[in-house]
């Protein structure tokens, strides 16, 4: 008897990860269902559907595994989650940035901690329900956007490099959402009807600001300035604002005003017109490349500066572990803390974390 190849399927209870597990099982894998216990949701609320890993979702995931007849384990990764996701999230926010914890969760939890668990459990790799495509070529793996553009999640995966991709599977990555639903129905999987998981799972019920202030960061009022340094009013604390924000500023003005920049150190927020939110370029730090190295010291790429950004053509210059990007056309709301992801057509080349936007010369 040859042992079947074993794989961990990260299960959220939703339709995507459930069908991912189903497809792997049909391919003959020995599938083990896994959910991550990341956070004590009961401390915040009892009923919170639609996030990745709340209590109801664990129930749903268990029932899907029951239906598939595969074992299901809940792994406690609360310490890692706090250290790698929540703490950095709070720190980033406190420095005036708008962080993206979902990428950190992918990077450190789903595709690092879970791969470690896969080793412990004798599994070759980890599968998830992400919509993205991995192409396995001789000697390396490449990452591409999903054909179903409305579902594409490759933005959240930019930090995975080739040797990790080799152990990762996205079984539904090339499917359309409607096909995934159909497959779940046909197999009679008890997946629940819930909304897409897009909110940040651990910030429940109330605002980010309330979550962060519960984490012990004190909010302090400060000054709204215009780009010339004139005082426009008083803000309620830098935590409550994000670059590009227009609503809730409480400043009367002839033209609509936007948050242009946040200086947490000086506790000042610069407001400006829509034009002033335009950035000619951006600098991203902690850059990484799927192939392990950039294609060249300077190259052309399509750049996304947030998840729903359609992408902007730009010239990229690599400078150590930083990249400097100059857009062909200025871009709105380039927000420090968010990921900057570099594409060559459909292919994800890599990316980094936005440190600052460079002002538009227009």
């Amino acid at each position: 008897m040859t042992a079947r190849r074993r794989i961990l399927a990260a299960m959220s209870g939703g339709v995507d990860s459930s069908v991912a597990a189903l497809l792997l099982q049909r391919e003959g894998w020995d599938v083990i269902g896994i959910s991550m216990d990341l956070y004590d949701f009961s401390a915040v609320t009892r009923d919170r559907a639609g996030t990745c890993c709340s209590l109801d979702d664990l129930y749903d995931a268990r029932r899907v595994c029951d239906a598939l007849g595969i074992p299901y384990y809940v792994l406690n990764l609360r310490d890692e989650f706090r250290r790698e996701v929540i703490d950095p999230f709070v720190r980033e926010y406190a420095t005036g940035r708008t962080p993206n914890p979902c990428i950190l969760c992918n990077e450190h939890l789903k595709f690092r901690a879970l791969l470690r668990k896969a080793d412990e459990l004798g599994a070759e790799g980890v599968a998830t329900g992400h919509y993205a495509v991995i192409r396995r070529e001789a000697g390396r793996c490449r990452l591409f956007a999903a054909p179903d553009r409305s579902k594409d999640q490759s933005y959240f995966l930019f930090s995975l490099e080739s040797d990790r991709l080799a152990r990762i599977h996205f079984p539904v990555g090339e499917m359309r959402k409607s096909e995934v639903r159909k497959a779940a129905d046909a197999a009679g999987l008890p997946v629940s009807e819930k909304r897409e998981s897009q909110d940040i799972c651990f910030v429940t019920d109330d605002s980010y600001a309330a979550f962060i202030s519960r984490s012990g960061i004190r909010e302090k009022e400060g000054r709204f300035l215009d780009s010339a340094g004139n005082v426009l009013g008083v803000h309620k604390g830098v935590l409550r604002y994000t670059v590009g924000q227009r609503k809730g500023l409480g400043i009367a003005s002839k033209e609509p005003l936007y948050v242009v920049a946040i200086d947490a150190e000086r506790n000042e927020i610069v407001l400006g017109t829509e034009n002033e939110t335009l950035a000619a370029g951006a600098t991203a730090g902690r850059a990484s490349f799927v192939a392990g190295a950039p294609p060249a010291a300077e190259f052309r790429a399509t750049v996304k500066v947030r998840y729903r950004h359609p992408g902007a053509d730009a010239t990229v210059r690599v400078r150590g572990d930083r990249v400097d990007v100059v857009f062909d056309a200025a871009q709105r709301s380039v927000t420090p803390g968010q990921a900057l992801v570099l594409y060559d057509g459909d292919e994800v080349l890599g990316g980094g974390w936005i440190e600052c936007a460079s002002a538009s010369r227009s």
């Binding site: 009961s42 009892r46 209590l55 129930y59 268990r62 029951d66 074992p71 384990y73 809940v74």
Partner: protein, 392 residues
Amino acid sequence: MRTVYFDHNATTPIHPEVRNAVAPYLGELFGNPSSIHWAGRDVRKAIEDARQEIAAFFGSQPLEIVFTSSGSESDNLAIKGVAFRKGNAGKHIVTSQVEHPAVMNTCRFLEGQGFRVTYVPVNHDGIVEPDAVRNALAPDTILVSIMHANNETGCIMPIAEIGAMVRRAGILMHTDAVQATGKIPIDFKSLPVDLLTFSGHKVNALKGAGGLVVRKGIEIEAIIHGGHQERGRRGGTENVVGIVAMGKAFSLLTSGMAEESAGTRRLRDRFEKGLFGRIPDLVLNGHPTQRLPNTVNISFRFVEGEAMLLNLDMMGIACSSGSACTSGSLEPSPVLTAMGTDPTDAQGALRFSLGYGNTEADVDYAIDAIETVVRKLRALSPLSHPRQVKVR
């Protein structure tokens, strides 16, 4: 001796399919459902399958079902769970004068903990009228608990109407549906209640298991603190056998309840007609039609219920005076008292509740036996002869 079991409102015989369903869990499937290994996994699946069957029966979501040890525990969990969670918002609870002791005594307990309780009356037919509940509501009312059907009379309360009015007022609604479950249709999805109590052993499952349906989004305090079982709402390793039994029993109900309750109703009506046709001076306690299809509560004038009960028992017929939880005393039933039943009539009241396994032959045998006993006791009765008293 021939035996006839007419006390299904006290408890029911175990269905043979239920017995078969639990057999593996009295043998090789012994694991703790919280264990993550193979021994726990199969047992956990059995519990979740049962939860799904029960949810399907009630028209609820699986996660709205919280397993407990009994209907009484479920009533405690519902009422104390709301009181302890919402006690800061208000200190007033509304219930009725005909509730099961599990509700009644939980409310009395809370009266000793700083809560006020209004016990609304019933009308002469034993029905809680919506207006009575409406009039009892106060600005700080946090919970209304009204049973779905009464255990002694079988009276069906207008829960849909009461619940709708209570919830419009922003107040939580609990109903003890232990007696209604399996006898009349219940659809939790459309029924305007937040919390609903059920029990296993009243529907041909086992004693020691019950549940509370808690509408999604309603938060209650646990009353048994412990492990994370039932998502923190009820600590303690699950009663696997009892839960599996309920799963089976409820799946049987889902497929066959309508037919079975029609059959039971035919038998009960035959029984009722037979008694009223052959024995004079009987009084029906409770509403003539707004009543569970299996229950009939009758006062046999000029005889004591207790004497009837014992004589019938000697003839193999099991029935009860009052609820099993209060019988044993010669006190007239508080339920009948609340209905304004004449105290002497209340003393002579017997409840017959039919169900799974009963036959026409049972009914006919019981009618003969009851007629014999009544004649014998009336001949001896110090309460005097029926022909010589003025009947009201």
